[in-house]
Each structure stands twice: as structure tokens, then as C-alpha cells.
Symmetry: C2
Subunit: 256 residues, 2 copies
């Protein structure tokens, strides 16, 4: 039986530790092709490159793996992988990550990791974004590997509903502390920004955006609760943003 | 009675024609503050600036309007407006646009215009993104103004459900051709990319991403149908991406 074809991307860039762990995990059962950014693309959301050019270079960074580094965003990487690198070959699965840092809750909107997965879902491909709640470049991913392989194989076996990509977050804990996996919803939380005002040596004002994560969600059915309580969170994310209930309310009540 | 405070941003940049039309429309009944990108940010999706600094400069581009140009993305603009420029003043409404070009269907994911509106919704503010289905920098926005004022006033009066921003698209037609306004869902369509491979004068390979819009949606209840049939489309968009139905399917059927 031929191995499943697995496309891998990420947003921390092709040299990050997280993507290497993901490549090695997928190599245990799949044929792997990597198209990943040539530099970090964190916080790029679903950005794409319009009005500028893209570069794509072959990379020998992973032994025995067909890999490319691209100057674009994670969404660009999936597009150029699908329509140029793989062309007539359709991947059986697209995985993105493993992100260095949490993508729970509202971070899914800002996440380059998830934009790669959602871009793949748009192409009708089963896709998963994996993140570890640890921003360190030397983070310990060892406890994630067996779960990632299991999730990837189950996704290959079952497929995903149309229009859905999975957002998977791992708590940064030891393997034996993991209590299991929770299918859950996106927590109702946000980033509360602060702007740190400074001046450069020429007297010009500039800002650093900083902030803290504020969780309004008191429930136990959301991804932030899951990772805070030693569970792996799995949120099925849809790219159809239409709200049926808001459509009804506005249609009935507004005067337009 | 004091005028409502209206924050305006966009993704085409502070010098674009579309934002000027929007500023002039909102000035007819509101107190306007503008924080917009200092350069075009089309296709930036929900990108934010992480690991780099932001600049913010006062602008006198609009007579009698408190305006600022920011080096960041549309989402950055709303964040710095809310937490630095306006600080203790809460806008009654946030409007973004008018975008030069369509943001129907899946374009909502790539849209900087809509990311500004969604960022405002995240802050609990009523927000609308306006787009005209004409990419020209000299596009004719005259037929949009009365509808924009009506929608803005109705949104101020009714508020929006929690977690919702409106995505409004205008067909590029004459005023008298507009058939009305449709509350609708996001069309099931996508961009089909092609990569145009070239070489620079030094022999290095690069690509232009091009593509065409492919509409799979045969219904008449979606935004693409609406603008194609001379209606103004209004899609209530939610930033909670969780799919309840996919959560159920996976919880019941998968072995995890």
C-alpha cells in the first residue's frame, strides 16, 4: 500500500524546532512534502501576498524529504504547494506547526499556523494545525508526538466535514500529566493590548504592542479550559463566518 | 445631543479615495476619528505586528478630523486607536473601508478591511466593513453613500449581537440600478490560484500569484449572488470559528 501524501507547513519558519518534530512524526507513516516560510511569520493571520512577488527555493534541511522554503506567508505556502509544487498530486492530509506558542481561543484569528490549515480546508483537503503552549524556541515537544500521529491517522481514516480544519493545542507539561483529549469550542477570551511608547535615538516616537490574555469564559467546554487543565484541546474550526442567528435577528428587526 | 463617536480605518491606506468617501459620510452625523494604515495593506487578513515596532503620526489629510496614520496592519490600527489614541473614550461605532474591491465570499478571510471590523467586534464595539466591487483607485463610490449612512445609523440604534461584525459589499453599478439590500450568508466560493513563474535579471526565479474567483454556490441566499444581481450584500460575520456540528460528529464517531 502506498504511503499517504502529507503536506507540512508552519508559521515559525522552516528552521524552527516545531516543524522538525512534525516532519519526523509524519515520516513514520507518510510521504512528506514541506513548503514552509523562509522566516518567522507569527501573527500573520490569513495574510496573503498581493502585489508583490514570491520566492521559492529547494531546501535540504530535512533528510530524505522534498522540502521548499517560501518568502510568503503560511497561506501563500499552502497555495504555492497545492498549485505549483504538488500540481497534479493531491495531498491526503495537510498539517501545520507545531507552533511555538498557544493558538487557543481568539488567537486562532491571528495565527499563521491555523491560516495554513484553513487555507488547506478551503482547497477541500483534511487539515490540522498543531500548537504547543510554550513560546520557547527550545520547547519540549516530546509529549506531543504520539498524540499527533494518532490524530493525523484518525483524520486520514475519517476525513473531516466540508469547510472544517482542526485547531489542536497541547499544554506544556510532561507526558504523564496529560489527562486526555477534549473536543471543544473556542474560548471567549481576548488580548488586552497596551502600547509601550518609546523614542528612537533621533527623537522619533514608536510603539511596542504588548498585552495580556484575558479569559471571559467561565465554562469547561472550551479550549483554554482544556489546556489549563492538562487536556489536549481539539477545536473544529469553520471558515464560513456567516452567523445564521444574526441573519435572522437583523432580517426581522432592522429597518433597512 | 452629542454626536456619536465613530472610529474609521481601512486597508487601502489613509490616502485612498474610499476612506475619504467614508469619512465624509460619517461626518454628516458623527464625530470622526481616523486611524488608518500609512500604506496599502490589502490581503493582510487578520495580521498583527508582533516582534516589530509601530509608528503612529498625526495626519491633517481630512479637514477638521482627528486623524492618524499608522505603520501597522488594519487590525493594529484598531488596537492602537482603542488602547492609545482614544484611551478612555469608547467609540459608538467602528467602520472600515470603503474598500476598493470585493470582499464577498471567502475574500472575507484575506480582507484587511474586515479584519479591522472584526477586531472592533472583539473589543465589543459595533462594527461594519464596507467594500465596493471595483478595484480601481478612481472607483465611483457615489451610489454607496446614502446606504452607508442608513446602515451606520441603524447599527448605532440597534447595536449588533455579541461577536458579530457586518460585511457589506456594494455592486459597481449606477445608483438607480440598485435593487435593494440583502441580508445573506457568505458564498461558497474560492480563489483558484495560478503561479506565474519568471526570472529576474540575475537569473533568480520568482513568482506572481494570480488566480480567478470560482463560485460553487448555486443558491440565491449568498453575498456573491446578491452583488451579481445588483443588491447590496450584508453578511453578519462571527469570529467564533467553532463548528458545533463538527464537534458532535467528531465526539461521537472518532476513536481518540
Amino acid at each position: 500500500m502506498s504511503k499517504p501524501l502529507i503536506l507540512i507547513s508552519n508559521d515559525d519558519g522552516i528552521t524552527s524546532k516545531g516543524i522538525r518534530v512534525l516532519v519526523e512524526a509524519m515520516q513514520t507513516f507518510g510521504e512528506v512534502v514541506v513548503v514552509a516560510p523562509d522566516s518567522p511569520q507569527s501573527g500573520m493571520g490569513h495574510a496573503i501576498t498581493i502585489g508583490d512577488t514570491l520566492k521559492l527555493e529547494k531546501s535540504d534541511i530535512f533528510d530524505g524529504v522534498d522540502a521548499y522554503e517560501c518568502s510568503g506567508t503560511p497561506a501563500d505556502c499552502v497555495k504555492i504547494a497545492k498549485h505549483y509544487v504538488l500540481k497534479d498530486r493531491k495531498p491526503d492530509l495537510v498539517v501545520s506547526g507545531i507552533n511555538h506558542g498557544s493558538n487557543t481561543s481568539i488567537s486562532v484569528l491571528y495565527s499563521g499556523t491555523m491560516s495554513a490549515a484553513i487555507e488547506a480546508a478551503l482547497e477541500g483537503l483534511p487539515a490540522i494545525g498543531f500548537s504547543l503552549c510554550d513560546y520557547s524556541s527550545e520547547a519540549d515537544f516530546s509529549h506531543t508526538v504520539s498524540h499527533i500521529i494518532k490524530l493525523a491517522k484518525e483524520t486520514l481514516k475519517r476525513g473531516l466535514p466540508k469547510g472544517i480544519a482542526l485547531n489542536v493545542n497541547f499544554p506544556a507539561i510532561q507526558k504523564e500529566e496529560i489527562k486526555g483529549l477534549k473536543i471543544c469550542k473556542q474560548a471567549d477570551a481576548k488580548w488586552q493590548e497596551e502600547f509601550d511608547e518609546r523614542h528612537d535615538p533621533y527623537g522619533r516616537r514608536y510603539f511596542w504592542m504588548a498585552g495580556e490574555f484575558v479569559n471571559f469564559d467561565k465554562g469547561t467546554d472550551n479550549d483554554q479550559w482544556a489546556v489549563d487543565n492538562n487536556y489536549i484541546s481539539v477545536v473544529p474550526c469553520q471558515y464560513d463566518l456567516s452567523s445564521k442567528s444574526a441573519m435572522e435577528t437583523i432580517s426581522k428587526e432592522w429597518e433597512l
